[in-house]
Symmetry: C2
């Protein structure tokens, strides 16, 4: 927006970046068919097993009697805090009313996103207690870091969604952080955002703050928040997450229902078993939202990874989670609900080759599986403990290639270029050909961060590696940041809400 | 082999590595279906366009009258040095006799490889004039470097094939390098290898040297060499490459017929046009081998990448080459010949995050497209100008994950683990479960180079990034190297051949 204007007239790379920002799509549309790793029989088997798991073992509902009543009212078998479901019940409830796709409105209508097939939306990493940059190394995150990442996300054309807990502002009281985070999302950015899920009352604060910005009527009729509700795998749901899901569903706001599974710990070690359990847990959460309010937007989420069997540490970018991702995406398509998974995940402590290999080995399956909402698309380090400044801009750059990949192969006459091929002699190069000149600017995705120059030129320019270049880039982006416009009265009302609500609560520290 | 024994009793990571070497498969077998990005109609259109290109424009045959005669004898229309082909002629010739799969024998029969569906073979980078390591930086490659990479390849379980010109030994005369390179492959390793293609007489030297090791009779009846013959894109073939292909085909040895295309320079900028031209050029080379000797093994090769439209520099790991790769693999399957492409390609000067992102963004499509022979799977830097020591071991580690990925999803009762799922209570973890213990060791692919430990432990161990760890690893591997056994008489005969042939030729320098 305004930031774009400021970079006019600078170096070519900066102009390209600004142009990308201007032309950036609010979300992507996939033309490539998703990759399927299992056939109909295999997928049906996993569905049957998930149904048996829900019927025979069921789930524990922790500290949330109201949810037990809701489940019982809808035909589940409630025994103390254990809830079992007749086979197929959850699936039927989800399929009866959950939308296959929904619009999450942004306060800038041009940035509203469609969540669900055939669309793809990228959001940054979520939930990191630490941050890292090349200058200061690793340290606890603060609200200042949070605001920096809100700005960086706003300025990143490949990130369509502002995300949620970009990093944990541990300098703020644990029960009041959400005010500052939601406030940052609503003021520093105009992209769609995620709300608090750490307690139902914080979810309600999120909805109330959104109403100030979007208008109460608009929020009642439209979805303006998508929030992340994780299961307590294996097979448990607690009040914080399910209670938050209830608040959002009641308000017609979206939730991403995500079993978080490290295979071998929260589930058996095999791909098919992880898929079975993920489906079972997600079905319960998704069905719950539909019991609360039929038709409330809900996303099937899956976060599944492997672990080092030597040390028990989680591992990322490995082949088994890639297979899990493909299977889960297929299962979500069969349920006909939007799917969230993937990202740019890594266990590496620093944005080195390991980090990039692992992130790419997560991102590529994410793109080909047909994920609709890609959380953790930028910034993740150290298994999610760290949000990295350099990693963020490197990942966002990689995410920007999705647009070209998902377009698929252009089979138009211009794409086939038969006349051009037939008009050239053997040995005659195509650099100056009319077809090349006509397609010059849009022919190839070009990374804004990769160095493709000659060794000599690279050396002359300082011989910087990609992290050193990324360090310059995020600082430049932050220096160029200007907030999107926001009505003064709205801003004041938002500030007042935060001040008032903070005063009502005692400070709680973790 | 013997090297394995030496690492017994050391640290766990080294034991794991040794075990991997012992259990390493000579080649991989794919269970995952390849990913298709075009439908039947799209692929047929590209085939028709390739046929028209060969009929209307044809190819130039540079400095090789004998090839012109061979093409004319088989029904092509030869006009000076231009050869045009009746529509479908090349395809029919290839389909009539080219094998869909062949065995390339290694001098250790346990390392022989199957090249063609459903198998996958990995080989290291090829043709780099420079090398780089963390200690010495970038420098011209020598025969010592070549031997080091021959040893590293031999010691890398994920690399099934020794490759060919691992780096250019520029310290040797240009017309005699091939003796030392082939000698190194035949003595330092017992994996299958690639021969010289820089002149037909050097191809013949390669065959003659192989006969010393394998026996002349064996070589007459079996394929023991697979060599890389590149087209002079656009639409030209020269005597060096096509003449070498002729020598190999006459001897029933395999060639990889590879158009090398930077889109926008050697072909139009679009994916479909690159596919059309690649198919046309490859059909000519493949058909030529079948004219020389019907049934000679031949591999359809494709090397296609994008370029920076700002600078003209080649770019790698971008979405367009990924799409090209998927299309070419589909076209090769329709021809029913083995397919070579992909690898771990990058334009980065150093093994940083850029190098890893780009390599992974090439490797993942390589695996899902159904490539049978993966050249450049380890070591590539700087668009192929540099073979990197650290990059080599990092890439080889990544390549090792292919085995688990290509296995696909285990849908056996053990894979489904239904009994285990039904036997666990909600909240009960699986770390100690019988199923986990039974599957513990094989459950997950684990990188030998990634650091998955906690931040504190990583820091305590020196806080090394992946390149620093890789530097330690390649030095350790080289220090542990022991050559595979070779009969003394064979070794002597090989040495004598090289000495005699070198004496017959004057030194030529580039």
């Amino acid at each position: 927006m305004t930031a774009r204007r400021r970079s006019g007239g600078r170096a070519a790379r900066q102009r390209a970046r600004a142009a990308a920002f201007a032309e950036s799509k609010p979300f992507l549309t996939r033309r490539l068919a998703p990759y399927e790793v299992l056939d109909e029989e295999g997928l049906a088997t996993i569905e049957q097993h998930a149904d048996r798991l829900l019927a025979e073992v069921g789930v524990e509902i922790v500290d949330f009697p109201e949810a037990l009543r809701i489940f019982a009212d809808h035909g589940a078998d409630v025994d103390g805090t254990r809830v079992r479901f007749p086979e197929g019940m959850c699936r039927q409830i989800v399929q009866a009313s959950a939308p296959s796709r929904y619009t999450q409105h942004a306060r800038n209508p041009e940035r509203s996103v469609e969540i669900g097939d055939p669309h793809v939306v990228f959001a940054p990493a979520y939930g990191c207690p630490f941050v890292r940059d090349l200058d200061g190394g690793r340290r606890y995150a603060t609200i200042e870091d949070f605001r920096n990442f809100a700005k960086l996300t706003y300025m990143s054309p490949a990130l369509h969604h502002a995300g949620g807990t970009l990093c944990e502002p541990v300098d703020l009281p644990v029960n009041k952080r959400h005010f500052d985070m939601v406030h940052a999302h609503l003021t520093l950015s105009d992209k769609p955002f995620m709300g608090s899920v750490t307690a139902p009352e914080r979810a309600q604060d999120t909805v109330d703050m959104a109403k100030i910005v979007f208008g109460a009527d608009f929020v009642d009729r439209n979805t303006v928040i998508t929030s992340l509700c994780n299961a307590n795998s294996p097979l448990a749901w607690d009040r914080a997450m399910l209670g938050s899901a209830k608040v959002y569903a009641e308000n017609n706001q979206a939730t991403i229902i995500t079993p978080f599974i490290l295979a071998g710990a929260m589930a058996p070690v095999t791909v098919a078993a992880v898929a079975t359990q993920t489906l079972a847990e997600a079905l319960v959460g998704m069905a719950f939202t539909q019991m609360v309010r039929p038709g409330a937007p809900v996303v099937f989420g899956s976060f599944a990874s492997s672990m080092s069997m030597q040390t028990g540490s989680p591992t990322f970018g490995t082949p088994e989670p890639a297979l899990m991702l493909f299977v889960m995406a297929s299962l979500a398509r069969r349920l006909n609900v939007p799917f969230r998974s993937g990202g740019a995940l890594t266990a590496s402590k620093v944005p080195d080759a390991q980090a990039a290999y692992e992130s790419a080995a997560t991102l590529f399956p994410t793109l080909l599986a047909g994920v609709n909402f890609v959380l953790h698309a930028a910034g993740w380090l150290e298994g999610g403990l760290v949000m990295g400044y350099e990693k963020f801009v490197l990942d966002a750059d990689q995410a920007s290639m999705a647009s070209a990949l998902l377009e698929g192969v252009d089979m138009s006459p211009n794409g086939l270029a038969l006349d051009t091929l037939l008009a050239h002699r053997p040995g005659e190069h195509f650099l100056g050909s009319e077809h090349t000149l006509a397609n010059f600017e849009t022919a190839f995705w070009t990374s804004a961060l990769a160095d493709n120059s000659s060794f000599e030129q690279w050396q002359e320019e300082g011989g910087l590696d990609s992290v050193q270049r990324a360090n310059q880039v995020w600082k430049r982006i932050l220096s160029e940041y200007e907030p999107p416009p926001l009505d003064d009265a709205v801003r004041e009302e938002l500030d007042e809400y935060v001040t008032r609500r903070k005063a009502e609560l005692p400070d709680e520290h973790a």
